[in-house]
């Protein structure tokens, strides 16, 4: 029960997913129709993967940095984010 | 006649009869909170239900009791609670929830003298209008009022039938005298009274809409845990059960609540008449008061006064058409109630122009005496 010890729920992952611009699929899918631009994913992503668009919704700006740590999709209150790695 | 076990004549108390009627109708869940003069119903249920595999729970209050029977009915049970005035008032919010979510359930109100704590061990018929208008918002109510121990049984069965048939809460308006009175009666045998159960869906779960529009306006009803997953809410909702703000859907939903009852009120109306064929003075009375009125009508007949009795058993929906027809040619109608005048307003609406509407009311916790009524018949005739 690691999270009980630290109060933190996610350990930084060691694995780094390789993603290269123009190659393969992006690490995440965003169903932005449901997104309300709350900024949680953007602020909480430890790898700074997202940038906000004009409306404040996330753009996967640095896909190659994503570690699939799950923080963004676990916190997103609107079920916007799904992962492409299964 | 070979008597089956049930058909033995025996001394039964009114509240016991209500309880037995519920079991006869297949009630398998009861939630309640004790209150005089209804408590014997809960006590009987506590004793009987576990024997029949059903469940009884004494809740922390009447609000909880009403909530629990709605929840249990949503989950497929046939459910009932019993209370008296103060508890009935507390149940109103959740009764409204049962109206809008169209959940069948039965509420027995063994009326005592009110308002407020009032006269806990005395009779009243003062919750008649409350049974119609007690909760906020628009809806149409069904209530029945027994007048004998046998009817406490029968009308509880009917209440379940109406409730299941129309997917709506039904109130049984009993009273303290009826509830505590004992009569030697023969209880109906199994099969003697038809039992109606809610229509279950026959479509696949994906197609099921909990509030589907149907020709008779009553939607087939699945229970929780039966493979049909659906949503119920006290917000105005669409046929699927989801909240809606579409004025058209809202109008349809609320109209359905009314029309499913109003359009079929002939199925609901139960009315008993005594010597109305040649009557020129009609007495209208229900529940315990009707028994005194019946005696009074007989006394009047002895004196060659052409009195008759109209006894609504179904109080809501009110028997408008039937009573209007019965009052044709009647000179005086005397409405006898154990309150300050409640259904007299309905009769007033229905009375033909030449028909005098009089009333006789008692609200001190005692039953009207036949002699009192007889005297009043003499006065107004």
């Amino acid at each position: 029960m690691a999270e009980e010890k630290t109060g933190d729920q996610v350990e930084p992952k060691k694995v780094r997913f390789s993603f290269q611009e123009g190659k393969g699929q992006p690490p995440l899918n965003l169903y932005l129709h449901w997104c309300k631009a709350c900024n949680i994913c953007i602020a909480f992503c430890p790898q700074k993967v997202f940038d906000p668009d004009r409306d404040g919704k996330p753009i996967v700006a640095r896909p190659e940095q994503c570690t699939q740590c799950a923080i963004c999709w676990l916190h997103c209150p609107d079920f916007v984010i799904t992962s492409n790695y299964k | 006649m070979a008597q089956s076990k049930n058909s033995v004549r025996r001394l039964v108390q009114g509240n016991e009869a209500s309880m037995l009627g519920a079991l006869y109708a297949g009630c398998n869940f009861f939630a309640g909170y004790p209150i005089t003069p209804s408590t014997e119903i809960a006590e009987g249920m506590a004793r009987m239900l576990p024997k029949k595999g059903g469940r009884f729970i004494q809740m922390e209050d009447e609000i909880g009791s009403m909530g629990a029977i709605i929840g249990a009915s949503a989950a497929g049970a046939k459910t009932m609670t019993a209370t008296s005035g103060p508890g009935f008032s507390l149940m109103q919010e959740n009764i409204g929830y049962a109206y809008i979510t169209e959940v069948p359930c039965v509420v027995v109100n063994v009326q005592r003298g009110g308002p407020s704590t009032g006269l806990p061990t005395k009779i009243g018929q003062q919750d008649t209008m409350q049974a119609r208008w007690g909760t906020h918002g628009d809806y149409t109510a069904i209530s029945v009022a027994p007048a004998s121990v046998r009817e406490c049984f029968e009308q509880t069965v009917k209440a379940f039938n109406f409730s299941e048939r129309f997917r709506t809460p039904v109130t049984v308006l009993s009273d303290e005298v009826l509830g505590h009175m004992r009569e030697v009666i023969t209880l109906p045998e199994e099969g003697e009274i038809e039992i109606i159960n809610r229509e279950k869906p026959d479509v696949p779960a994906e197609w099921y809409h909990h509030f589907e529009a149907t020709p008779n306006l009553v939607s087939p009803m699945a229970g929780f845990g039966e493979g049909y997953r659906f949503h119920m809410t006290g917000l105005v909702h669409d046929p699927e059960g989801f909240p809606t703000a579409d004025t058209n859907e809202i109008r349809k939903k609320l109209s359905k609540l009314r029309n499913k009852i109003v359009r079929f009120s002939d199925e609901l109306v139960q009315l008993e008449t005594t010597m109305m064929d040649d009557a020129n003075i009609a007495v209208v009375a229900y529940g315990t008061a009707a028994r005194a009125a019946q005696q009074a009508v007989l006394m009047a007949r002895d004196k060659r006064i052409r009195a008759g009795l109209i006894r609504p058993i179904t109080i809501w929906p009110f028997a408008d058409d039937q009573i209007r027809a019965l009052l044709k040619g009647i000179k005086t109608v005397l409405v006898v109630e154990l309150n300050m005048g409640q259904i007299v307003h309905e009769v007033d609406r229905l009375a033909h122009r030449h028909c005098k509407v009089e009333s006789l009311n008692r609200f001190d916790g005692e039953v009207l005496d036949p002699v009192e009524i007889f005297k009043r018949i003499l006065e107004v005739k």
Binding site: E4, K36, P77 | G76
Partner: protein, 284 residues
């Protein structure tokens, strides 16, 4: 992908995606996050959707069930537990889960809450505590801290608060746990434990209402409120080995209480079975 990381799309198997979305909650409201946890916990336990009932009262938090593809019952304000009691007794094999808020579950619904605890009826209650009435626009709730502001406490709240966990325990619940919308994986796990507990189990989810509570009390937006949760939370296991001055003002999280005691539905089943046995004996 590491095995411990939750898949991101299980939720879609449980959402009523065709209607009702996007959900009604404000941008960043933690209720949606709690919903994710509930779904993942249920998925992990492998329960059948048909056997789950989600019962709620009225409030932002009580809107949760409408989005989930279970048997869902959105009742009257404060009464969810009473309705759930009926559901449970009519279908004892079902998992009955109450979703409620601090106002719904503890203000108007406080009585049903303590009595369900006392009865120890096998219902899991997930109380989403945002310390305010969100739905009606920011009034004081029984968990609004002393001196904090609310629209009905414009000069600061004069009242004291419930410690929900302590109240549930004193009233008789057999399982009490707590976490926050910051600690999502802890939430997933604690909800799972609560669901598996036979008896009345409580999971209190500390959530953010930045729209009202945050604005009135200058606690910032969703992100900052959620980040504050990280600072204040302290796992009970850690707290147990700390000196009292270090735990003061902290929000204890984890399993706070877990005991065995007679559960209402099982007790009732025994009664029914007794009569059945008796009948069978008499018939034999």
């Amino acid at each position: 992908m590491p095995a411990t990381v939750q898949p991101s799309d299980v939720a879609y198997n449980y959402l009523r995606v065709k209607k009702n979305f996007p959900n009604v909650w404000c941008a960043g409201c933690g209720i949606g996050t709690v919903m994710g946890s509930i779904i993942r916990a249920i998925d992990k336990l492998g329960y059948s959707k048909n056997d789950i009932a989600l019962v709620s009262g009225i409030g932002c938090s009580s809107r949760l069930p409408v989005y989930c593809d279970f048997n869902t019952l959105h009742t009257t304000h404060g009464r969810a537990i009473a309705f759930a009691t009926g559901v449970k007794l009519a279908k004892p094999h079902m998992k009955v889960i109450v979703i409620t808020g601090d106002g719904d579950g503890l203000a108007i619904g406080g009585n049903h809450f303590i009595h369900a605890c006392r009865r120890n009826i096998d219902i899991t209650t997930i109380l989403i505590n945002n310390h305010i009435y969100g739905m009606t626009g920011g009034q004081c709730s029984p968990t609004t801290a002393h001196d904090k502001k609310a629209t009905t406490a414009p000069y600061g709240n004069l009242e004291n608060t419930f410690d929900v966990a302590q109240l549930a325990q004193a009233a008789g619940a057999s399982f009490v746990s707590r976490s926050t919308v910051y600690h999502v994986q802890q939430m997933d796990k604690l909800i799972g434990l609560a669901l598996e507990k036979k008896g009345f189990s409580l999971f209190e989810a500390i959530s953010n209402c930045h729209t009202y509570y945050g604005r009135l009390n200058k606690e910032g937006d969703a992100v900052s409120m959620i980040q504050d949760m990280k600072k204040i939370a302290l796992p009970i296991k850690a707290a147990k080995v700390l000196p009292p001055e270090k735990t003061k003002g902290k929000l204890l999280t984890g399993v706070l209480w877990d005991v065995e005691k007679p559960e209402f539905c099982s007790e009732y089943q025994k009664l029914i079975d007794n009569f059945k046995d008796e009948r069978e004996k008499n018939n034999a």
